[in-house]
Each structure stands twice: as C-alpha cells, then as structure tokens.
Symmetry: C2
Subunit: 227 residues, 2 copies
C-alpha cells in the first residue's frame, strides 16, 4: 500500500523558494491501477519519485506497506526499491555504454540472480515489448520509442509488486502504446499495483482511478466507471 | 526547398546490415507545413536528421535549396545548419550545466549575435513557451515538458527558414501542446517551412500534408483537406 500524508516538496532556487507539491494526501491500495494527469510542471514526476523512494518529501510522511520510508537508511531504501518497485523514468535513464540486453539484466544482477537466468528473463521481457532483434544495440543505436521500451522491460524483470511508469507511451505510436498498456493490464490482473502518469486520455482509460494534479495540488480524484 | 532523392540509410551491427531508410524520395517546398507519422523504429528521426544536415545518406542525394549537402565540408554544413535550420530533438539534447536561458542563447552566440540582443531574444522566446519564471533553472531542475519547451525556444531563436521538430509535444499535456502547435502555425504563416514528426493525430492536423513511413519506406503521402 502506498500512502502519502500531507506531503510537501520545496526547492530553493537563488533567493526564491518554490513549492512544487503542496499538502498531497493519497492512498493507493495493493492491486490498484491508477493514472495521474496534469499540466506540464504540475508535480507529477516529483510525486512519483517520492512514491518510488527516489526522492524524499520536504515535509509530511511517505509509507510503503505501512513502513515510513523516511526512517530507512539509504541502503535499506535501495533494497526496498530493487525488490518491490519497477520504475519507468520519463527520460528512460538507460546506461549509454551497455546494450539493450545488459540494461535489462542490470536490476537482476543487483538482486543476485544468476547469469543464465538473468539472460533468459531479459530476452523474454525484450521480446514481450517487440525488441527481440535489437538485443545487442546500444541506446544510441535505438530509436526514441525503442529506448522507451527497453526502459519498460527493465522495470518488469524483478517481478515488482508496484509498477510506477512516468509517461510510458510518450515516445510510442498509438498501436505500440496500446500493446504496452495491455501488458500493464495483464500484470495488474496478477496483482501488481500499477501507477501511470500520462497526458493521453486513451492511456488513462486503462486505470480504474484517475488523480489530477494542478500546481502541486490534487484537484480531482475520480474512480472510473465500474472497473 | 528540401529534396531527398532515392535516399537509403544502412547500419552495420555485428555481421548484420540493417536498412533503416529505403529509396526515400521526398520534396518539400518552401513555406509548406508537413507532418510525418509512422510506427516506432520506422525511420522518422533518421530521415529528419538527414534533412537537418545532422546525418548523411548511405546512398542517394539530399539537396537543400538546390545545393547538394553531401558535397559540403563539415564547417559549411555547420554554417548552413546554424543559419537556416531550427531543430527540436526528440531527446531535447540540452546542455546540462547551462541554464534554460543560456541553452536558448547558444545558437545566437554561434551566429555572432551581441550579448544584450541575445539575452533579450532568449527571454522573449522562453516567455513565448510559458517559461518566463524558469530562466535560471538547469535542465535537471526542470520537468520533462519544461525541458521540451526550452528545446523548442532554442530552435526558434535564429529565425530559421526551416523548422524540423521531432515529437515536439511528446512530453506535453494537450493544452500546452496545442499552444506550441499554434506557435508553429503562426511561424508557418510568416513563410517558415515546418516539418513535424508526431504520433498524435491532433498534432498532424495542423499540417497541410501528411507523410507516413513504415519499415524505412514512404507508404503514404496525403495532402490534407484544402490547405
Ligand atoms: N546507430 C545505429 N545503428 C543501428 N541501428 C540504428 C542506429 N540508429 C538507429 N537505428 C535503427 O534505425 C531504425 C530507425 O530509427 P529511427 O530513430 O529513425 O526511428 P523512429 O521512426 O524515429 O522511431 P520512434 O518513433 O521510436 O522515435 C530503428 O530500428 C533503430 O533501431
Ligand atoms: N531541482 C529542482 N529545483 C527547482 N525546481 C524544480 C526542481 N526539479 C523540478 N522542479 C520544478 O518542479 C515542478 C514540478 O516538476 P515535475 O517534474 O514534477 O512536473 P511534471 O508534472 O512531471 O511535468 P511534465 O508533464 O512536464 O513532465 C516544475 O515546475 C519544475 O520546474
Ligand atoms: Mg514529468
Ligand atoms: Mg524517433
């Protein structure tokens, strides 16, 4: 379960202080499928980085499965992240000098998975996103959408219980995008909690609930029709 | 005028040779507004990089305003690029240790524009894309959509005669995206040739002509209603 309680995030730029998240309170239950929408700069990625234990609130609390994440040491936090959370970054963050296959194997290497199993699982996930014939390409030799799909495959390899995806179809044509969303839907059906940031209404439709951010505040929280 | 004549682009990966563009012939007249669509990996960015003098064909010819670009020296090519072409990259390619303002000033610095004029023009273009209060932010302190808008402002500062934009609204919510497209439309009305790659049909609607790529080949070329 994901619980944000009165979360605020502030940055200091020069003499100014900017609040990019303000009093955000949000609970997402296990197995839910939630979409997050809102204008550019409204705080969506900032909120998801906190959910993914990649950033900490300036004030307020973040609890994952009942435990306060701000009380963990950096090593414990990295352990939770590697075992529970799959993260698809808005900018992909692929390692430039590793191939598509090596990028997807990396989270498993951290988790201590053996070489043969790592390779087999990475190949399976890359085939699942349509990249079976790009395994040996470096990110610089892939198209924008192909890099995004490598980032998606990497987020899935450790069988996370929570999948956090920041604009996962932003670089994809609509039919490839729909393929990715049906993959997320089938994961959700097996019990994975899925949270997706999107600007695309047809992507948001896959979720049972839609949360809208504006200027750092939650301004809407709709349960979609009967999901 | 942009003229691609029997352009092929091939890469060698290991022992394999991949053709990512095949026999592409395309003429775009001055002042046109053209959109390019096609699945992820179909060759859109590769084609636009050739149009923007950032890459060369493996075979075939590329002519810009009647001159063969493959006969130019690298310095001449850089000069043509800086004076005639505004390019919005799919991955933005902002310089990480420069502020939004400095990134947008850079093309003018290359073109020898004075300091005061540079600053004034960069501020104007950043305000035009809604970022007047993010001038001193580094790219790492901007959201995905804000970085994309900095990249758009940078492409416009040298008053290019050709604007090449690779998924310019991919990281933007639909209302911010529409703002950017109406900006492009008003530039086009002043005579700027605009070529936009997009996966979004509502973006493609701004163009008078739509070219569709599939597996490296042009498979459709529609003139939109009337314009
Ligand atoms: N340096 C390279 N070496 C080998 N293959 C490459 C290289 N660069 C690109 N490719 C391949 O060229 C093909 C076309 O890439 P391109 O970036 O033009 O696609 P695109 O249509 O822009 O796709 P997207 O919508 O995903 O951005 C892809 O299949 C990609 O893997
Ligand atoms: N390190 C930082 N310092 C100062 N401001 C920052 C920093 N990082 C982000 N911001 C600001 O925080 C705000 C929220 O950013 P965030 O990335 O969460 O937006 P977003 O909703 O994901 O937008 P987009 O749809 O464009 O990706 C933005 O206005 C941005 O400028
Ligand atoms: Mg974002
Ligand atoms: Mg591309």
């Amino acid at each position: 379960m994901i619980e944000l309680q009165d979360v605020t995030k502030r940055y200091v730029v020069g003499r100014e202080e900017i609040s990019v998240l303000q009093d955000v309170t949000l609970t997402i239950h296990d197995g839910a499928f939630v979409s997050i929408m809102g204008p550019s700069g409204s705080g969506k990625s900032t909120m998801m980085h906190i959910m993914g234990c990649l950033d900490v609130p300036s004030s307020g609390r973040y609890l994952l499965d009942g435990r306060r994440m701000d009380e963990l040491s950096p090593t414990e936090m990295a352990h939770v992240r590697n075992r529970k959370i799959g993260f698809v970054f808005q900018n992909f963050h692929l390692l430039p000098r590793m191939t598509a296959l090596q990028n997807v194997e990396l989270p498993m290497a951290y988790a201590g998975v053996g070489r043969a199993k790592r390779r087999k699982e990475a190949e399976r996930r890359l085939a699942e996103v349509g990249l079976e014939n790009r395994l040996t390409h470096l990110p610089s030799a892939l198209s924008g959408g192909q890099r995004q799909r490598v980032a998606i495959a990497r987020a899935l390899v450790n069988e996370p219980s929570v999948l956090l995806a920041d604009e996962p179809t932003g670089a994809l044509d609509s039919s490839t995008g729909q393929d990715i969303m049906s993959l997320f839907q089938s994961l959700n059906k097996t019990g994975v909690t899925v949270v997706v940031i999107t600007h695309d209404p047809s992507v948001a439709e896959y979720a049972g609930r839609m949360v809208r951010l504006f200027d750092g505040r939650i301004v809407a929280d709709h349960v979609a029709g009967g999901s």
